[in-house]
Subunit: 285 residues, 4 copies
């Protein structure tokens, strides 16, 4: 597992360096680790709170529920917000380099999951954004010691990252295609059939080429239907490309995943299974 | 076919241990095996009954049919239910360890396929659940001695099981994404455009990101359409991930399925299944 | 190209055996081959007729066109039908074993493409079925000497045939799932929301799980929407399975496609690229 | 990056041959290259203009915006058109063989992106076609020196081109299937259910089999729904084929992309790109 995202690496290294003060070390153990009883209890309680807080936000958005339990849900939300704020501050205190944590992937999510509550004091409605707390549930993998799952997540992530250039090229092509298709249908169908502007027609083209097909707009002239048919078949065919990219990337990875053996001389890893000599220093494995 | 699910293994082992009593052995042969004439007749009759019983339930749900043949269908259903109950009891008697059968995959399906009928005595409507009987049709593979098909099913199942951690990570990500997307559209479009609550908006997000696109809800504001476009393209791209996972898993499996035999002279492996001589040293395998 | 469909093999072998009579040989050359000038002219004329005849059928179905050119289209259709009937009879005469041709893939299509016209004499409306003539266009590949394309088609076909057991298992699972899902929604939503019967609900489940999503039926109760969400995500995930099957099959084929070298002793083909000795007879390659 | 499209190769070779006149060489450097400061400035300015001009066309199509800023947008469009025309002429002057550039991929796009403006003088409405300018954005990759991205694009393109015969066979099959399915539903549902003609029913079949499913037409008779169900499941399964083709093609390519270097001592191949020593005999590569 040489490959991990920068955020993770950051706080792992900070935990290995052992924070100076005794208290900080203890705090770190409880909050960041999950292999001591205290740490595990903390994490399970945290996950429970996250689920409950997200449910509270969702329930509040249902008119009937809000009418009956509005007061209680409001209180619950603020309790959770204060709880998560305290937790965020503690996390900042627990690491030696707070900035590294704050700018890591998890750090940003932790911040984003409390911010909307405070924001809602200034502008009402921002509250609904609290649902982003659900993103914090990614921690669930850590608690159940499912490093295996995290590893899988990273291998997926790496496969996606490795195919990024291909995906960028692909998306740019799709974007250009969608613009051209949308404009063609705008010209052919025109505002009288619901294609009131080019951006709206591009929205239609996206709905069509991703095979979503709401049906809120659909071509009604024969020529428009012919263009739509071409767009659909193109979209259908294009669907094959990202799948092919990810498949071949994962397959390649599966092929090279058979490493695990380190060179006894230079400790390099990543040798093929049939390798007899280290490919970096030439020593016998 | 070294790979089979635990349930199957369980009742195979119980059949290998040979039930003590003569009668039980005979019963077992008829009910569980399909290579004796009696066993085959029993299985074909069983499959026929299953198809007929499922058709009866389906037909009963059509108003016109029920009005005319309601009485007859009711009778037929109870006949099938009693038949399947007797069969279930006989299966329990035929194996030495009834509990192993009852808790196996097939045992559970057999139970579930009779339960709703009895349940419908207490609460009407549960009857429609009898359609789960259709699941029992999986037995069809066994009757026609299509072990090859069953083997294929297991290899598919194994591929899926091996990629389970990847799939769990993937589904969790999708769930979080769907929640965030649904909430965003809820905030932007609001109840006046049909997005009456966050759960309902999440339902919309699922409809969109899986590219189903009913069109019962669709964004009408430009900003909502922009967010929907992002959701669609994301969903479209994400579709590539599970496909890639299963493909690469099946490809890996296909790759390793042909090896296993080592050359007796040079011990090289990786020969094709039809190889008679070692492809590296030319010795007979 | 050791692999070809039985139909093709049949009429190739009958062409290799050379028909006895001189006339039949000449007829065979013109009708079945496309490498002589006469044969090529015949095939191009045939393809043109097919396209025109299909267009005629399609145009006749448009009310406006039928009102104006109904008479002419009717005549054209009968001309084409008689032409194709004559061609079919000639084909039967041109081969030594007419039955082999008649029961081959192409023979059946040729028959089916004239039958509806005669059928329409007895029952009006069958005429529209003449569109199946479009299937005859598969011959287009042969004319342009695109054997390479035909080869590709066969390799695709072989990949599909090799994965048939997996596909059967997959389809059976999907069928069972669709029945269960449809019934569940039928129970939850009920006739008052448009789910009037189980078969109709199964139709909805198919529309949903294949991610088509017309929107002619869509769940309106929260519980129904929850079940629909599960069905969608399941359908979305299941989409990965056939793709994975075909991908891995094609990849395997691509891997073993690197043969081309025949053993000098036993003339067996299909050796791996790194093979030094023939894997069938043990001779040096 | 051994693989590039003919157009690119063409103008690279013409740039290597160095244009005779000093001025032309200078012009070429500014317009075609992006590694000198002047060349980079030119390219960034160009990309900015393209984005702005496309936005102008899109905005003009929105009724509200046109009412208020119609005059200004019109002016902006003509400014951009003249600018791009000048650029096109300069490009023609900058290369030694203008015809090679004019007929290359980029040359054609450059021409197409100014033509509609002049066309709109003759026939109003053609203006909307100016959106094709968006295609010129493909140049974005070159500016940021993302040759890596261009390379990826080419590898994608090659994979698609290599699988062209398979894709042609596949599309022909889909076309034939769509015609047959559309006709079947036309016969079953008929004009009274919205299936007014065969071409329109074929449009419906495409909408269904690509899993788009607008819902503007959907079968209402039980038999029509049964046929639609078959079409959906077929379409769903067929989706697997192009994906499989592209995946296996990309996988093959990925497999062969890392080899090419042979060990000088034992002549073994298949080393990774970062290998310094032969993994079989330990000699320096």
């Amino acid at each position: 597992m040489r490959c991990m995202d920068p955020g993770l690496k950051a706080h792992r290294s900070s935990s290995e360096e052992k924070p100076g003060s005794e208290l900080r070390a203890r705090l770190h153990e409880v909050i960041f680790e999950s292999d001591t009883p205290a740490g595990k209890t903390f994490d399970v309680a945290l996950l429970g709170s996250i689920v409950l807080s997200v449910l509270a936000v969702m329930l509040e958005s249902i008119a009937d529920v809000k009418a009956r339990f509005g007061q209680e849900l409001q209180v619950a939300e603020w309790v959770f917000t204060i709880l998560f704020t305290v937790e965020y501050v503690l996390r900042l205190l627990a690491v030696r380099k707070p900035w590294l944590y704050a700018s890591s992937f998890y750090g940003l999510i932790d911040l984003v999951s409390v911010a909307p509550a405070y924001l809602s004091l200034a502008m009402p409605g921002a509250q609904a954004l609290l649902v982003v707390r659900v993103l914090r549930l990614v921690r669930v993998f850590r608690v159940f010691k499912l490093t295996r799952f995290l590893g899988e997540g990273h291998s997926l992530w790496n496969a996606l990252r490795a195919s990024r250039p291909k995906i960028v090229v692909f998306l740019t092509t799709v974007m250009a295609l969608v613009c051209v298709m949308g404009t063609l249908v705008y010209i052919v169908e025109g505002p009288e059939n619901g294609y009131t502007s080019i951006p709206r027609s591009i929205y239609w083209a996206i709905v069509t080429m991703t095979t979503v097909g709401y049906g809120d707009m659909s071509p009604s002239t024969p020529l428009g239907q012919a263009i739509a048919s071409v767009a659909m078949i193109l979209g259908y065919g294009i669907l094959a490309v990202p799948t092919g990219i990810v498949s071949s990337e994962l397959a390649k990875r599966a092929g090279t995943a058979t490493s695990s053996q380190a060179c006894p001389s230079c400790s390099a890893e990543g040798h093929d299974e049939d390798a007899v000599f280290c490919k970096y220093c030439g020593c016998k494995l």
